[in-house]
Symmetry: C2
């Protein structure tokens, strides 16, 4: 049991964390809900009780063993050092510390052992990256990865509650033939696709795309892994999907791959074309597993595998993964 | 000038053909509009006149030099042989004859010369394939193609008027919290993705995917070209998009590729990340060109290029391409 502070308790990921902590009987004996001072005093439900949200400031971290950060990169940069001053272990969902050498970047199904190396901060990876590594790590264990080509189909909830609201309101406006100005996204997202998530950083790749390169390499301890990502926002409320082509070092048959996926942690194989079974975001939502299907040979190369995944990026891509990390920290007394 | 029969004049592609013939001042001096007997007697607009739709039967083909077929594979199989009996040149938008050796499969920007080889039937390729080859052929000319990996984001209008209606009605139902049963698609398409278009045919690839393999090879005269496709239906009304990774035989820089694309026929380069310019289906709709953007190095391989395309698949993917073929047939007197 631990005392937990949750920074960003009123946001999309924070709210999901509260729900998942209830479902998982998460070992917390005191929960301190924090948010922007503007939201202090509002209440959130947790295990049948109303908890009063407090302004996130230094003093509260004194009372917590672990602080879960789910409030964006700027908040993490500002408050995580204060939490550390009070020996509060930080599990951070933002981009702030992910690539620092002394910060383990963890997907428990892949590199849970890295958690023990922490120096006070453990980072939760980017959502698209989490889904990707859960799916490709078992194939790497079985056949060695040489190259990963991935095109994403990312839900609007990746942009938080405001993204969900914008898709809902603007879909209605589009159906009514009304013109509306996009606010959360750069262009209308209703009935459209936007091949641009986060800012452009290098060689005309976006940061969302480069996260899938940098973070995948760090999580899998494969600093040379070749990854070619394309990240696209789609008009789906929840659950990201990815079309993945792998090249492996050793041959792996489709049957073997299906077997490997079905025995891997955190994966549900949903792959029965004859009966029209394959992963879809509408049905992978509100689940913790990564759904894997359309498993087939990549017919354009000798040792290639193609498949399609879908998973709830608010849960496994953020809230669930962070809580899985926290469970290891608590269970192994790493705080 | 030619006498033209249009089979499927009341369908999504047929209606678009009428509109495009008006725009292009298409050289037709008599137009006979045909459809299912159930629709005989209805009227369609063409160049300010109301044309009465007739039942598609053998007799009408006597009066036509060229018959455009836009009514599905079964209709083409049944009526194209009758049209041929009257020496009517068939330009067929269906899958019926595309892979027959004596039937040229044509995208005018790529293989217009094949039209002259026709033996009475010329086939219009699959929509996703047309967009793909318009984009990759210039790179093949410049650097030689070795391998193509493509993931599609296909609009519902690929399933005709009924697909458009279903997305519209079911999006409204979803926003209203109402349950509705999908009819056109196997699963709800509103706010969802379906990684399955057409039937599964071989090695767990769909026919929509294998069309991108078989037809690309035939159009480009590259029977050994390696193509790995993934076809996904997305909740977009109009315009297909594709995420493409190419491997080339000779190196080609991003600058050179951008130059090659910008000089290629049928392409508009829309590629300015700093100013958030890239192709999107909302803006490529109702245009005849293939929009190409997000042009960058494939950072997972030595000689690779990654880019993103979007184009109106009812126009360039079907109606416009068929009419471009017909224009060559008329201009070169190949009927």
């Amino acid at each position: 049991m631990a005392k937990l502070a949750l920074v960003g308790a009123t946001g999309a990921v924070g709210q999901e964390m509260l729900k998942i902590m209830e479902e998982r009987q998460f070992p917390v004996d005191e929960l301190i809900c924090l948010a922007d001072p503007k939201e202090a005093g509002t209440r959130v439900k947790f295990r049948g009780e109303d908890l009063v949200v407090q302004a996130a400031d230094e003093a509260v971290f004194k009372k917590a063993d672990i602080a879960m950060f789910a409030a964006g990169t700027e908040v993490s940069k500002m408050l995580a050092p204060l939490a550390r001053q009070h020996d509060c272990v930080v599990i951070d969902n933002s981009y702030a510390f992910r690539l620092q050498d002394d910060v383990p970047l963890v997907v428990p199904e892949v590199n849970a052992d890295d958690i023990a190396q922490h120096k006070g901060i453990i980072a939760n990876p980017n959502c698209s990256t989490i889904l990707l590594v859960v799916a490709i790590n078992p194939i790497h264990q079985a056949a060695g990865l040489k190259r990963v080509i991935v095109s994403t189909y990312q839900a609007v909830s990746g942009a938080g509650k405001a993204g969900i609201y914008e898709l809902e309101a603007h879909s209605q406006a589009a159906l009514d033939g009304k013109e509306v100005q996009p606010e959360v996204f750069d262009y209308p997202i209703a009935f459209n696709l936007i091949p641009h998530i986060d800012v452009f950083v290098e060689e005309d790749y976006t940061r969302e795309e480069m996260k899938m390169v940098w973070e995948t390499r760090k999580i899998m301890h494969l600093p040379e892994l070749k990854v070619a990502p394309t990240a696209v926002r789609v008009p789906v409320f929840r659950s990201h999907s990815e079309s993945i082509n792998l090249e492996t070092q050793r041959p792996i048959s489709v049957e073997e791959a299906r077997q490997v996926f079905s025995q891997a942690p955190g994966i549900i194989v949903q792959d029965d074309p004859a009966n029209k079974k394959y992963p879809m975001p509408l049905y992978s939502s509100n689940r913790d597993e990564v759904y894997v299907g359309r498993i087939r040979k990549d017919i354009s190369t000798e040792q290639g595998l193609a498949f399609w995944i879908s998973a709830d990026q608010i849960r496994k891509g953020a809230a669930t993964n962070s809580l899985q990390i926290a469970e290891v920290v608590i269970e192994k007394n790493l705080y």
